[in-house]
Point group: C2
Chain length 383, copies 2
C-alpha cells in the first residue's frame, strides 16, 4: 500500500500537515545565528501558552524518553527516593529510568487501573525527593489525576515530574496551577510535528535542587539548556535538529491559529465519539476508572472482543489502509487502540469507525454495520 | 540576506542537497513497521562501509554530543580511570562528559598543538579503562593520529573511543584496522545530512565491558540499541526522528554513488587548495604539527593576520554571503575557519578564496587579489 494512502490513527507518530512537511525543506542555517534564535524563541513562547506556565521551557533534540530522562536524571542522586506511579507502560518507563539514577519506590497498579491517592499519600509521608506521573497513559488510554497528585506532592515538599507526552497540545494541562515542577512532551503526538524533538518546562524549585547535584547527565543537562537559552544567547547547548525545529514552529503556528480551547474541545469530542461508537458495538473500554481518573481524550484503548485478538483487528485495519495500534507488551493481543491526536479530523474518526465495523462484521463479531457510525456521528456533529 | 543565497563554508551544519531536503517531506510512518526497519538496515549497511567496520552500528536520534556521551557513559563506572586526550574544544568536551561518569585523567595540550604519543604511553602504563580521542579536531583543524593511538591503546588493554564527527564520511577512517571500540559521527558534517542524528559503531569488547555496568544512561543505552537492532526487530529502542532518517538515507545514497575513495580525494584536494591559497596570502595555519599529526582534510583553521580579528573576517565574509567560522572560546578572534565538508564543490572553494582575498584587500591586509585564487585553482584543477 502506498504510504500516502494510509491514515495514521495511532497514538503517534501522527499525520503531519503538508505545510509542516514543506517547512522542513528550507535550507540549513547556522544554529549560532539570529535566525535560529528567533525561531527558538517563537516556539518557546507558543509552548508556554500550551503548557500554561511561566516556567522556563527548553526544546531537546531527542524523543520523549530523552525528556523523561532529563527530568529524572537532573534531580536524582543515588540515595534519593523517587516515587514512580505506574499504571501503564510509560509509568513503568519512568521507574526504569529512575532506577538508573536513584532509589525507586514504585506505586504499581495493573495496567489500565486507576491510581489510589491515599496510597500515594502514605508513600509521601515516608518522604520522597520526587514523584513521577504519566498524565495521559498512552498504553492504556487512561487520564490520571495530575491536579490532585500535584497538590499532594507539593504538600509533602516533593518535586512533581509529569510526562504530558500525549496530553500537552491536545488536552488541558495547567503546569503552574497543578504545581508541576518538570513537565514534558514529545513533538510527534498532540503537537502534530514529526518525531525527534521533546520539550520540557522546569520550575525554579527544580533548578534549586539541581544546584546540589554532583553527576548530571551531559546531553540532557537542563542547567546547560537554561544557560544557553538566556537572553544573551537564545541557543541550545548542542547542535539542534534544525529541520525538526522548522517543522515544530510550523506545527505550533497551526495550534495558535486553531486556538487551544477549540483544539481541546475537538480532541475531547473525537475521543467521546470513539467511545460511543465502540459502546454501540458492545466493546468494553480497558481503563477501570475511579472518581479521580478519566478516559483519555487523545487515545482510546478497547478490550478485544471475545474470539478475536487486538492484533488481528490491527492487521485487518492496516489491510484497509488505517493504521491503529494494538496493545504493548503484557497487553499485546488483549486490546486495540485508536488515537485522535493532533490534526485528526471528525471525518477521519468516522471513516475509522466505519472500517472497524466492517472488519468486525467480517470476523463474525458484529451482525451488522451501522450502529457505531451513527453513535459517533451524533457526537461529532456537535462540533 | 536571503537564506538560499548564502553559502555555508562552516565546519557544519553543511549545505544539504535538494534531494536530501525533499526526502524529508515524505509522510510519517509507524516506526514499528517494516518500512522503517528496511530504511534503518539500508542506512546501517552503507555506514558500515564508511566506517570500514564489521562492528554493530546504531543510529541515535540526538547530536554528536549525545553519541559522545553514549560512548563514555555506557562503559564508565565512578572509579574508572579514563584518559581524555585534549588538544581542542571537542577533546575538552570528552573530558567534561567523562567527569560526569568516572575519574578523568586528561592529557592536555594547547588547542592546536600535536599529541605526544610517548606521554600517552606513560599514562597507559598506569592503567586505564578507556582512552578518548577526537580524530579530526574541528575547533583547530588538526587531524590526530588515530591509527597510532589505537595501536597503543590496544597494547595496554584499554578501550579506544574515537569521535570521528568531522572525519567519517569525508576522510579515511578504518575502525577495525585502527582498533576503535566505539567510533561516532554526527549527521550534519561530512555525511551532508541535516543535524539531529548521530551514529555509533560498537565492538564486542565494548559490549563485554557493558555487561559489568550498574547504572547506564537510559536514552543513550547502547545495549538497548543492540537489542532492538537484532534481526527479529530491526528497530530503535525509542521513537526515532523519522524525517531525519529519510534525509540520512538519501545523503548516504549520494555518498554511495560518489564512492568513498573519490569522496575522500575530493575532500583532501579541497583542503589542500585552501591551505595553498592562504599560504599564497601569507597567512599561517593554526596547527603545530609533529611527525604523527596532519592538517585536517575537512576544515582549515588559519591564524588571523596581524591587524584584523578572525571575527571581523567572518563578519565581512557573511556580508558577502559566505558563512565561515571564527574561533571558539579561547581561540575567539584569533583564528578563522573554512570547512569543506560534505557536498562542497571545487567552485565553492574558489569563490570562498576569491571573497576572502577581496575582504582582506579591503581591510588593507593584502595589496592585491589573485595569488590565492591562482594557488587554489592549480590544486583544484587536478581533481
Amino acid at each position: 500500500m502506498n504510504l500516502e494512502d494510509t491514515l495514521l490513527m495511532m497514538p503517534g507518530p501522527v499525520p503531519v500537515a503538508p505545510r509542516v512537511l514543506r517547512a522542513m525543506s528550507k535550507p540549513m542555517i547556522n544554529h549560532r545565528s539570529t535566525a535560529f534564535s528567533d525561531m527558538y524563541d517563537d516556539c518557546r513562547q507558543i509552548l508556554s501558552d500550551i503548557f500554561n506556565t511561566k516556567n522556563d521551557i527548553f526544546i531537546l533534540s531527542g524523543s520523549g524518553t530523552a525528556a523523561m530522562e532529563a527530568a529524572v536524571g537532573c534531580v536524582t542522586k543515588p540515595n534519593d527516593r523517587i516515587i514512580c506511579i505506574e499504571n501503564g507502560k510509560f509509568g513503568e518507563r519512568f521507574k526504569n529510568i529512575a532506577k538508573r539514577y536513584g532509589m525507586t519506590d514504585p506505586l504499581v497498579y495493573e495496567w489500565g487501573d486507576s491510581i489510589d491517592l491515599s496510597q500515594l499519600e502514605e508513600k509521601l509521608q515516608e518522604g520522597a525527593k520526587a514523584v513521577t506521573l504519566v498524565h495521559n497513559e498512552t498504553s492504556t488510554g487512561i487520564l490520571n489525576p495530575a491536579k490532585e497528585i500535584g497538590k499532594l506532592t507539593k504538600e509533602y515538599g516533593a518535586l512533581f515530574i509529569m510526562d504530558g507526552v500525549t496530553s500537552l497540545g491536545g488536552d488541558l494541562v495547567k503546569v503552574d496551577d497543578w504545581n508541576v515542577d518538570i513537565a514534558l512532551v514529545g513533538s510527534q503526538k498532540c503537537l502534530a510535528a514529526p518525531p525527534g524533538l521533546s520539550i520540557v518546562s522546569v520550575s525554579q524549585r527544580a533548578f534549586d535542587v539541581m544546584e546540589d547535584m554532583e553527576r548530571m547527565p551531559y546531553y540532557l543537562d537542563l542547567k546547560a539548556y537554561k544557560k544557553s537559552a538566556e537572553k544573551s544567547q537564545r541557543e541550545t547547548p548542542y547542535t539542534p535538529a534544525i529541520p525538526l525545529f522548522y517543522a515544530l514552529q510550523e506545527a505550533l503556528h497551526i495550534i495558535k491559529e486553531e486556538g487551544m480551547e477549540a483544539r481541546i474541545k475537538r480532541h475531547c469530542t473525537e475521543a467521546a465519539a470513539v467511545r460511543a461508537a465502540v459502546e454501540a458495538m458492545g466493546i468494553e473500554m480497558l481503563p477501570d476508572l475511579n472518581e479521580y481518573s478519566h478516559f483519555s481524550n487523545t487515545v482510546s484503548a478497547m478490550k478485544a472482543p471475545d474470539g478475536v485478538s487486538g492484533n488481528d483487528i490491527k492487521k485487518d485495519m492496516l489491510a484497509r489502509g488505517i493504521v491503529i495500534a494494538g496493545g504493548q507488551e503484557r497487553l499485546s493481543g488483549k486490546i486495540f487502540r485508536i488515537g485522535n491526536m493532533g490534526n485528526v479530523q471528525p471525518k477521519d474518526i468516522l471513516l475509522t469507525i466505519a472500517e472497524l465495523e466492517i472488519v468486525l462484521k467480517k470476523r463474525g463479531i458484529l451482525s451488522r454495520v451501522g450502529p457505531g457510525i451513527e453513535a459517533a456521528s451524533d457526537i461529532l456533529d456537535k462540533l
